[in-house]
Symmetry: C2
Subunit: 317 residues, 2 copies
């Protein structure tokens, strides 16, 4: 069976778990490219060396990410592309975003669109089309959308229903913000409700409820949760509370979460989470550890190092 | 002094209040255009009659909105453009979105970008550039960004700090989701905290705190709140709780909020809120009330009718 058909027939959670097994790691690479941080090998090119020129900056970023995908595609199951870093370049950036999704999909990578959208129902329908569905327009016939999108729960069930419907229709997935990795997350997400539980646990239970209809053969739902690595106690509490929910764990590396912290996102069988690393991998060339190396080699080594660290934390190596 | 300079020197809240005074109404028009609902005068045009063609659909929507702005610009202080309805057309749609912002600004309308963004700090910086700042690229020299953007508070202070910084830098504004107008809003926003108050009031107090540094000469902050018209009791509670916060009130008209409901968003001096109406105005040509009329006339009459209804509810007519 051609890969495309396989993909279309499999529950997103099952696809993601199969990719994790194949690449032997729950590590995923986050693409949030900033022109200023690109290696001189890219920005030094005579056509790509003017960051005040919108199209030049976008071209450089797309070129960098395209080459980076070739390095990481054999090593990790998925990439998370951060929509904001493309949106900042207006429509030029959005065209590059979609080009990058096609590149990643062509490599067989699962693509998570980190867009953190949500609105009232009829607007969320449009966001689900824009961020998750495969495009339905004749002129975009061979274009695919991302495999999953991150969404914000503040507006409740009906604001996410169109995303869930789209995920079902295309065998795709969602990751709902539950407990994020930033310092200010505590202000609302950790506020205690009258039943004694914090808001993030209330939201976690809603995510489990929304996901109950999309459980795959491996026992996980295609509706996952974003849970930061920066608070391991909360990670452990949520892991216990939500046995069928896959966690997308940001905050590993640059944001301060350690490999020991992220181990709490997993069950005893070493399943249950994907761990995102962005800056430590995509800007590896800036680390003294990889000084003087070709940037692609630095990316490869940083990816392998993160894989090893996570495997050790999970007792898998 | 040229208008552009005036604009740049005035606090956003003061600019909005001056525009409300000038147009003698707190009504604003929401642009969330759907191709299927456009009048035959637009979609029947031989170059605009194929909704399966992405570029045709975008051209038709932009043409419609551009003409509609000419009708409503003399009547209302502001328009709210819903980003999702443009994002669904990918980069073609985003180019049209920015073209429409230029059109609205050229008419002297205040433009609210209804994008409901937020992320961790370094990502929110990018979103603040994309959705609110005036573009800083040489090739977009004469392009302006929106005057305000809607943002989601779930991730807390540091997730909104870059939007606040951008708002200060460009004398623009924010509207933070506090209590939205959709049915599912109750699930998280109305959950009671251990102090006996619901989450939305906790968020409301944070909005007042964030806004304290951006109070204009009229006593209102440039950081406002989105508060739905569909629950007048909550609207009244928040009006009392947040005396310096301007409310952006959706849900009037198509979503069920009445003019009597929205009166609770205002103080005794008739200030304190803007009331958004989208579908009842932009699709006025589909109402039996305006059957057989030119669509522009229908839009004009529907806008005037909403203005009258709101003025009556506020005891101003």
């Amino acid at each position: 069976m051609p890969e495309q058909n396989l993909k279309m027939n499999l529950n997103f959670a099952d696809r993601l778990l199969a990719a994790i097994d194949e690449k032997k790691t729950p590590l995923i690479v986050g693409l949030d490219p900033v022109y200023e941080n690109l290696p001189p090998a890219i920005t030094g090119h005579r056509e790509l060396n003017d960051d005040q020129d919108l199209e030049v900056a976008v071209d450089a970023i797309l070129e960098y990410c395209t080459r980076l995908l070739k390095v990481v595609a054999p090593l990790v199951p998925a990439v998370k592309i951060n929509s904001a870093f493309f949106e900042q370049y207006y429509w030029y950036g959005m065209e590059a975003f979609h080009a990058l999704v096609q590149e990643a999909a062509a490599h067989g990578l699962i693509v998570i669109n980190d867009a953190k959208r949500a609105d009232i129902g009829n607007t969320s329908e449009r966001y689900a089309s824009a961020t998750l569905a495969d495009p339905g327009f004749a002129s975009m016939d061979d274009t695919v959308g991302a495999d999953a999108v991150t969404v914000n729960p503040y507006m409740g069930s009906d604001s996410l229903a169109p995303f869930i419907k789209t995920a079902k229709e295309f065998n795709k997935g969602l990751f709902v913000l539950v407990r994020t990795s930033n310092p200010g997350a505590a202000e609302i997400q950790d506020a205690n409700l009258s039943d004694g539980n914090p808001v993030y646990q209330h939201v976690g239970k809603l995510v489990a409820k929304w996901g109950a209809e999309m459980i795959g053969v491996r026992g996980y739902s295609s509706i996952g949760a974003v849970v930061g690595a920066t608070n391991p106690g909360q990670l452990a509490a949520l892991r216990w509370l939500l046995p069928q929910t896959l966690f997308l764990v940001p905050g590993y590396g640059a944001q301060g979460g350690t490999a020991a912290d992220i181990a709490k996102a997993f069950k005893a069988d070493k399943t249950g989470a994907i761990i995102n690393s962005s800056r430590a991998i995509i800007y590896a060339h800036k680390s003294s550890q990889y000084a003087g190396m070709d940037w692609q080699k630095a990316v490869e080594l940083a990816t392998l190092a993160a894989k090893t660290e996570i495997a050790q934390a999970l007792g898998m190596s």
